[in-house]
């Protein structure tokens, strides 16, 4: 139980995918302009992460044990096709959800946070449950970082930010400060 809690907290806060591992920076900087979209992208990513955790566990357990050299290629192929498949299913089953998440799904394919999740979970040797908890923490952590960032960025739009800084430079510095703030979570529950 404690181990699972730590896996969750670690992925959510201590080793936040974006702020500590720099994963998923493209969407983090690209789609954090508006709070609504940021939140939706976060949820879509969380969803795909959970599916990816499942798939990568299946791959690890049944395929890659025999052919470890196919790791990278099989992960990326599985992620891409999963995203495509999910897209089709959502479109068929829930058009409302599709309208909400649809445009983000293709973006998620090239989100390194997803591939990173699969690779890290493999490297850490997580089982199915641990992998799912890890994905849950990572996805929620990604959403948290994205939503916080979006809130801050919407605010900076009203500010007389120096012209040369406006855009990615400022966003990176904001991310840096956020990342400093998240350092406060270091060691959280590790001694529990």
């Amino acid at each position: 139980m404690n181990a699972l809690l730590w896996i969750f907290i670690s992925a959510l806060l201590v080793n936040n995918f974006v702020l500590s591992y720099f994963l998923g920076l493209c969407p983090f900087l690209g789609v954090s302009g508006r709070l609504e979209t940021a939140f939706r992208l976060g949820l879509a990513t969380l969803f795909v992460m959970l599916i990816t955790a499942l798939c990568s566990w299946l791959l690890n357990t049944y395929v890659l044990i025999h052919a470890p050299y196919l790791r990278i290629i099989s992960f990326i192929v599985v992620i891409a096709s999963t995203v495509q498949f999910i897209e089709m299913v959502i479109k068929r089953v829930s058009p409302g959800l599709f309208r909400a998440l649809g445009i983000f799904l293709p973006l998620i394919t090239t989100n390194c946070a997803i591939l990173g999740l699969a690779i890290f979970a493999t490297n850490k040797g997580y089982g199915l449950i641990e992998g799912l908890i890890y994905a849950l923490g990572a996805g929620l952590g990604f959403t948290l970082a994205l939503v916080l960032m979006a809130g801050l960025r919407e605010e900076t739009e009203l500010a007389p930010v120096p012209r040369l800084l406006r855009g990615t430079a400022l966003n990176l510095i904001i991310a840096g400060i956020l990342s400093m703030a998240f350092m406060g979570f270091a060691g959280l529950f590790s001694a529990a």
């Binding site: 730590w6 670690s10 201590v14 080793n15 493209c26 900087l29 690209g30 690890n60 357990t61 044990i65 470890p68 050299y69 196919l70 290629i73 973006l107 090239t110 850490k124 040797g125 089982g127 270091a186 060691g187 529950f189 590790s190 001694a191």
Partner: protein, 217 residues
């Protein structure tokens, strides 16, 4: 932003007519085949070097934590006994037996991992079943704070604490200068959490392995 400019979703209308599905599948299969060939050949070419390197690193680590050892053997716990097993299997924990030149068992190198200050700390420590002592510790992997937490492997004094450490009743980390008992480790000033994490990871390793080693050794 970046993906737009990067992926450039503009349609490239080079092909005149629609290719058949068969052709699409064929193309992808060919690509897969090609990539498979490349990957497998590189894998085959590099595998011996990689395995050799990994084995050497592991051996060196074992030698590091166990003195007077010249060879080691991977051991797994199965059906109440320790058996020698070189092939790794998923989900199966192992220790390394260290033997001297005469083939006599000197001690065990026990790997253990657990949460540290920042991320998981993986370490290996040497244990002598005869005297119930830890005789060496090496951190294999960690992301502790540079300059502070990383003293768990950079600070010779701290690493030295594990050169002669009793495991009974349980290893304890105490403030520097106050520890005198055989089972006490002086924590690093300013990196108490990391020091305590190391001790806890060792205790966890002990809890998992010592009963087995004492029983099946």
């Amino acid at each position: 932003m970046s993906t737009d400019s990067g992926l450039g979703l503009q349609s490239a209308s080079r092909q005149g007519r629609e290719p058949t599905s068969l052709r699409l599948i064929l193309t992808l299969s060919l690509a897969g085949l090609l990539s498979g060939i490349i990957i497998v050949s590189v894998y085959e070419a590099t595998l011996p070097t990689i395995t050799a390197y990994q084995a050497r690193m592991l051996r060196e680590a074992v030698f590091q934590v166990l003195p007077r050892v010249t060879q080691s053997q991977r051991l797994v716990w199965r059906d109440g006994t320790l058996i020698a097993k070189d092939a790794e299997e998923k989900g199966e924990a192992a220790v390394f037996g260290g033997y001297d030149a005469g083939g006599n068992l000197v001690g065990y190198a026990i790997p253990s991992a657990g949460p540290g200050f920042q991320d998981t700390i993986t370490l290996l420590y040497g244990y002598l079943p005869g005297s119930r002592k830890i005789v060496g510790m090496e951190v294999l992997d960690s992301r502790e704070t540079p300059g502070l937490g990383d003293k768990i492997y950079k600070d010779a004094a701290f690493v030295g604490e594990f050169k002669d450490l009793a495991v009974d009743p349980e290893v304890r980390a105490v403030k520097r200068g106050t520890g005198s008992a055989a089972n006490e480790v002086d924590a690093i000033t300013g990196a108490t959490i990391s020091s305590k994490a190391v001790v806890r990871i060792i205790n966890e390793g002990n809890a998992r392995w010592l009963p087995r080693l004492d029983a099946g050794g």
